[in-house]
């Protein structure tokens, strides 16, 4: 993997770039534009959508990076060793590049269970413990295009100084092992390692974590994952900009410019714009999922120069609202997604009422389409140096709340049976 910065408009307008990912012998390389929106998955699939249906969403889109997570795929490791065509093809997305992460950004990661030598891995079977050695064995089985190094990222804005320090110290130990093994393991010879940066909300701890990564030879890893700001799930939608942004800014200043910076989790669209401005390069679609699973359609307006648009759009449409019963309009007027082109609010509301699986499917179709279009607009506005206008548009209604609360009306809904997990606080 290579990272190229195409354009850095000014210090606070973010940077446009490209991730170049080699596709095997003679297959050329894929170019992914940054700021990049990774496709969040569960068990290897984009939540609720088959590969076939996802293609209805992604038609004519740019190549996409699959964001896979060990916590939803751990049981597949053994099978992957026997599968000849690679990780992405196995999960139904042949030709897509992938990145394998540790935790599922869609669900709250429980706190605790950390130890000097192990990191807790929460899967649908409950809590497991994983050593650095086991972690690298698993990475070797999965053979992803990109993967993150093991880290203790169990911190948030409320973490004690001691907890933060432990997360930094343990991550260093884990990473020493990962750096060492990365070059040795056969199936990882074409994979790119991403260095986790931890340290909660302490600039001191962040500096220490960054220093450890930057001490490594420059070619031993290909990018950074900024971890430890939240514990995934809906918590990421509730972060305070005034606490988060100074820390991210501090990190970015200390990181080298040549490597991409990833931040995972359901950050609100407003926060995404601020993070882009600070120079973060990679995000994911967990926000679209967290909204869909709580029966919220994304409706925020990001159309700059939209003559007939209504800038006062609310961030969401709550599908559980009974006033939609006979609302035969699309989820969002003029939206070109399949859900809006062919279905109505009344129908999606009916699917909610009857607990039908097609409800969350249509919401995912719409929310992904909406969120991907938002990222297109981010690119365009960066290229024309209008990122701050976009932020102004999203902020037009200062009372708009982009955070996502658990919708208590939909517990055990979303067409899921036993074993299906849903986003929790």
């Amino acid at each position: 993997m290579k990272f190229v910065i195409n354009k850095q408009i000014s210090r606070d307008s973010g940077r446009l770039g490209q991730l170049l990912i080699q596709r095997g012998e003679g297959a050329g390389q894929l170019q992914l534009r940054t700021p990049l929106l990774m496709q969040t998955t569960k068990g290897g699939s984009i939540p609720y959508l088959s590969g076939n249906v996802f293609e209805y969403v992604s038609k004519e889109q740019q190549p996409l990076l699959l964001q896979l997570t060990l916590s939803t795929m751990d049981q597949m490791a053994e099978s992957l060793l026997q599968y000849p065509s690679g990780l992405s093809a196995y999960v139904g997305y042949p030709g897509y590049p992938n990145v394998l992460l540790f935790r599922d950004p869609c669900e709250t990661t429980p706190s605790g269970g950390n130890d000097r030598d192990v990191v807790p891995l929460y899967t649908r079977h409950g809590k497991g413990s994983i050593t650095a050695q086991r972690y690298m064995e698993l990475m070797d089985s999965f053979a992803p295009d990109l993967y993150q190094g093991l880290c203790d990222a169990d911190t948030n804005a409320d973490s004690s100084k001691k907890r933060v320090q432990k997360s930094v110290d343990r991550t260093e130990r884990f990473m020493d092992y990962c750096y060492e093994q990365h070059g040795k393991l056969d199936r990882l010879s074409k994979s790119t390692l991403l260095a986790p940066i931890v340290g909660g909300y302490s600039t001191y701890a962040r500096t220490q974590s960054i220093k450890h990564a930057r001490q490594q030879p420059a070619n031993s890893f290909g990018g950074y994952v900024l971890e430890g700001f939240h514990t995934n799930g809906l918590s990421a939608t509730h972060l305070e900009a005034s606490k988060l942004l100074p820390i991210v800014k501090h990190c970015v200043t200390e990181l080298d410019d040549e490597k991409p910076r990833m931040m995972c989790g359901a950050y609100t669209p407003l926060m995404i714009l601020e993070l882009v401005r600070l120079g973060v390069d990679m995000f994911d679609t967990s926000y679209a999922y967290c909204a869909a699973v709580n029966y919220k359609a994304l409706t925020f307006n990001f159309e700059l120069n939209d003559e007939n648009g209504c800038p006062k759009q609310t961030p969401f449409l709550d599908i559980t609202d009974d006033t939609l019963k006979e609302d035969f309009r699309p989820l969002v007027a003029n939206c070109s997604c399949l859900a809006c082109q062919k279905h109505t609010r009344a129908y999606v509301h009916h699917l909610y009422k009857t607990n039908e699986l097609l409800g969350p499917i249509l919401l995912m179709v719409h929310n992904l389409h909406h969120y991907m279009a938002f990222f297109e607009t981010i690119h365009k506005s960066m290229a024309s140096d209008k990122l701050s206008e976009l932020a102004k548009l999203l902020n037009a209604d200062s009372t708009a709340d982009y955070s996502i609360a658990k919708n208590v009306k939909v517990i055990n809904k979303a067409g899921m049976g036993k074993g299906f997990v849903s986003a929790t606080n």
């Binding site: 290897g44 088959s50 019963k325 109505t344 009344a346 699986l357 299906f420």
Partner: protein
């Protein structure tokens, strides 16, 4: 002729098997042409579980079934009217068939009481007492706007015997007249009567004779596939198809296991529906000619083949049994993936039968299918007898041959 003067259902036999009663036909409805014999996937509440209308069209599904009872409850008749009917409400441009709601009353509800007036039951939502009459059923079905509607029939358990069966049959005939009388959209929707009569040949014969006197565009055979012996099952189908007019479509309600479909097509049935393909998908099962694969079983954990190499559905083109094993019943997308495959399987089986009838090779199709389906196991006697009744002889069981060779 103005479009409204074209009947809302025309049916034409396109090819007939020269041996059995199987036939291939073309049914033209307001929303779609339908090639028969056809399997109709069940979209109970205005959606086929986890599958988009566009995917169904991609699979060349031409007609869906909706359940009147469920749709009448939610979203309700007023909402459906304002939406302009179910087609528009659910975004499905092709044909729809609705049942009468009577079957759900009797099967789902504890407090259903039937008298000459209709079916009395308690609403599961507000516990109020409701009455579904033939007129009310038609009123709801007119609001749903399905291309084909069913009369309200007096449903008794398939295994019921004695005078209640005859009473139900006679009442069903009386009710069809009330349904025809109440039907307000005969220019757009076709009403099918339902042949009842339990497992008694004379009652079935009497019922058919009475129903074919009515001005209707097709017929349903009801009261089967509810726990009766297979021997009774096929004989009742046989009796009905012998007497139903050749030039109208025949719908056998609630039948959808592959072997039953093949036998009943041989007996002259044109339309089928069943929840089985989508229900079994939710439990992690995939349909194949041999029966079904329970993908949760450990033996599929490292099985890198598609569910079925011959299958061209979007699931088989993309996913291995191994991957499906890992996500089945765990990730909700598995329900969509297996539903797509299972519906595609049913549609492909029906297409295979239609093509075989067109080529006049249907008996060979049946022999090949049964050989694959039972693969070395002895063939059930009822299948052998049912097919023999329409002159399709199956080779002796291979198991028997081996036993004979040894003795």
């Amino acid at each position: 002729m103005s479009p409204s003067k074209i009947p809302p259902l025309t049916y034409k036999v396109v090819a007939e098997c020269s041996v059995s009663k199987a036939r291939a036909g073309l049914m033209t409805l307001r929303h779609s042409e339908v090639d028969t014999p056809v399997f109709m996937p069940v979209g109970t509440q205005g959606t086929l579980k986890g599958v988009l209308p566009d995917q169904l069209i991609e699979m060349n599904c031409q007609i869906l079934l909706g359940n009147t009872y469920h749709l009448g409850m939610r979203p309700g008749i007023e909402t459906l009217r304002r939406a302009g009917g179910l087609h528009s409400f659910m975004g499905w441009p092709r044909a729809i068939l609705t049942d009468s709601g009577g079957f759900q009353m009797v099967s789902l509800l504890q407090l259903a009481e039937i008298d000459e007036h209709g079916v009395k039951f308690r609403s599961p939502f507000d516990n109020s007492e409701c009455m579904l009459t033939p007129e009310h059923s038609i009123q709801i079905q007119n609001a749903i706007g399905a291309d084909i509607m069913m009369q309200l029939d007096d449903v008794v358990k398939t295994t019921t015997t004695g005078p209640r069966v005859e009473e139900a049959m006679e009442r069903t005939i009386r009710w069809v007249d009330r349904c025809i009388e109440a039907h307000a959209r005969d220019d757009d929707q076709s009403l099918f009567p339902i042949v009842q009569g339990g497992l008694e040949t004379p009652l079935r014969e009497r019922c058919v004779s009475a129903l074919i006197e009515r001005r209707v565009r097709g017929f349903a055979v009801g009261g089967l596939s509810g726990g009766e012996s297979k021997d009774d099952f096929w004989r009742m189908v046989h009796v009905c198809t012998d007497r139903l007019p050749r030039d109208k479509p025949r719908y056998l309600m609630g039948v959808g296991f592959a072997a039953d479909l093949v036998v009943c097509v041989a007996l002259g049935i044109d339309m089928f529906d069943c929840v089985f393909p989508t229900r079994t998908a939710r439990f992690g099962c995939a349909l194949v000619d041999r029966g079904q694969l329970n993908l949760k079983q450990q033996k599929y954990k490292h099985d890198m083949q598609p569910i079925d190499k011959e299958c061209e559905c979007s699931t088989c083109l993309r996913y291995t049994r191994s991957y499906l094993h890992h996500i089945a019943t765990n990730e909700s997308v598995s329900c969509s993936l297996l539903s797509v495959h299972n519906v595609a399987y049913q549609l492909r089986l029906m297409r295979g039968m239609r093509e075989a009838v067109h080529r006049n090779e249907f008996p060979q199709f049946v022999r090949d299918f049964m050989a694959r389906h039972f693969e070395g196991e002895p063939l059930p006697t009822w299948i052998r007898e049912a097919l023999a009744a329409v002159h399709i002889e199956l080779p002796p069981d291979i198991v028997d041959e081996q036993a004979a060779a040894q003795s």
